[in-house]
Assembly symmetry: C2
Homo-oligomer: 245 residues x 2
């Protein structure tokens, strides 16, 4: 493993000649680089064979479109999923939110989940992943609340998102799981609005739940950083497995 | 195993002399015998050491009071639980309603469950069992809807029951699990009132759900008779294990 510190000027040359094509088998970029839309362009410059972060267009497209395998219909190579959303999924699997007796792909059927964050990096992909797995997801940002779901009886093959007139305080009492990722210590979920026995998960570096959340939630996951790192390693091993020979 | 057919007149003598004390190691009575309160008296005549049905006063008392072991604090001998309610519990464990990551005794925390039946044989003990395990239970009969729960944060050590002003149509859309036991083919749960992705369980010999329940529920358990028989065998083995030496 090696860390390359590139100046913005040296970027292009190094990028194409050394990094993308020759030198490294896997690549991770420490964002933000430009801090604007160019970063999204950079994400898609990373070859899908080297993209441990799962941020290139193909992986993002597949995730939103509920395409789970790179090699349908053989279905042996699962797509790479961005690390932080994947870490939340793995946490939810571990804490029993996924119902293992249901069919793979539908294991969140019947769960109502609120996600407070709709960033392109975590909140929106996470809402899509959970809705694609069968949940009814309320995706909350500063402007509004959207509902992501596969409809009645999961009749849609991938999620559909729609604006609602709900506010955060309307959806919290309905939610079996509340996931927060607001990067501010001033934002706190009002514990009294949580459904008794819900599961609370925070992926922000700030603490978005008050300490009394433990009195109301059946489970509280205060951070997921270590699982995110584990998912990065998982993606690394998958790519090595898929493409090293 | 042997079947004794007793006349009502011969009952008392045979009961005490032969059955209770001497002849059999385990006893099961095919109710109704008198079809009135005398049956409840008979239930409690069965020694706790022979009571495979779990209907004697001690087991019923322990169940309602959330006393789980016969030998606290050693806690090696679990109490005998009546077969049909226990069968429903086992079904709910199997289909993922119990969250195994939560502490034993609290594994239904966060689940809302409606039971349409409040008989002394199944509905009420089942409501107590599920509420003692942490669920919020709506117990519905022809007169009203009662709520059984251990309160906010499961702060009560055993369930508390309270009358509500809800009707069946109010609680169905809130319920993660709907359990029915109405002994009439005319009673049907309105599928459109069920929560998307709920789990539907019928223990009545009549079908209390319409066929379209499968379009809305994530899982549908149409009957539990075979599990009930299995629980009877389980109780038999437990009693043999506890008292045969």
């Amino acid at each position: 493993m090696s860390l390359e510190k590139l100046t913005r000027r040296s970027w292009k040359v190094l990028w194409w000649k050394q990094i993308m094509i020759l030198k490294y088998t896997e690549i991770m970029i420490y964002y933000p680089v430009f801090g604007d839309r160019q970063d999204q362009y950079l994400q898609s410059c990373v070859s899908e064979k080297k993209d441990v972060e799962g941020l290139c267009h193909k992986y993002i497209y597949n995730m939103y479109h509920n395409v789970r395998f790179l090699d349908d219909p053989v279905a042996e190579k699962k797509c790479i999923i961005p690390c932080t959303p994947l870490a939340v999924v793995k946490v939810l699997e571990y804490v029993g939110v996924y119902n293992k007796i249901l069919e793979y792909g539908n294991r969140l059927h019947g769960r109502t989940i609120t996600i407070v964050n709709r960033s392109e990096v975590v909140g929106r992909p996470l809402a899509a992943l959970l809705a694609n797995d069968g949940a009814k997801v309320y995706s909350v940002d500063i402007d509004n609340v959207q509902e992501f779901s596969r409809g009645d009886g999961l009749k849609l093959s991938r999620y559909h998102a729609a604006d609602t007139t709900f506010k955060l305080e309307d959806v919290l009492p309905l939610s079996d799981v509340v996931i927060t990722g607001v990067p501010s210590p001033n934002f706190k979920v009002d514990t009294s609005l949580l459904k008794e026995g819900c599961i609370a998960v925070n992926f922000s570096s700030a603490k978005n739940f008050n300490p009394d959340v433990r009195d109301r939630a059946s489970l509280y996951v205060p951070s997921i950083g270590k699982i995110t790192i584990m998912m990065l390693e998982r993606n690394l091993l998958r790519l090595h497995d898929y493409y090293s020979t």
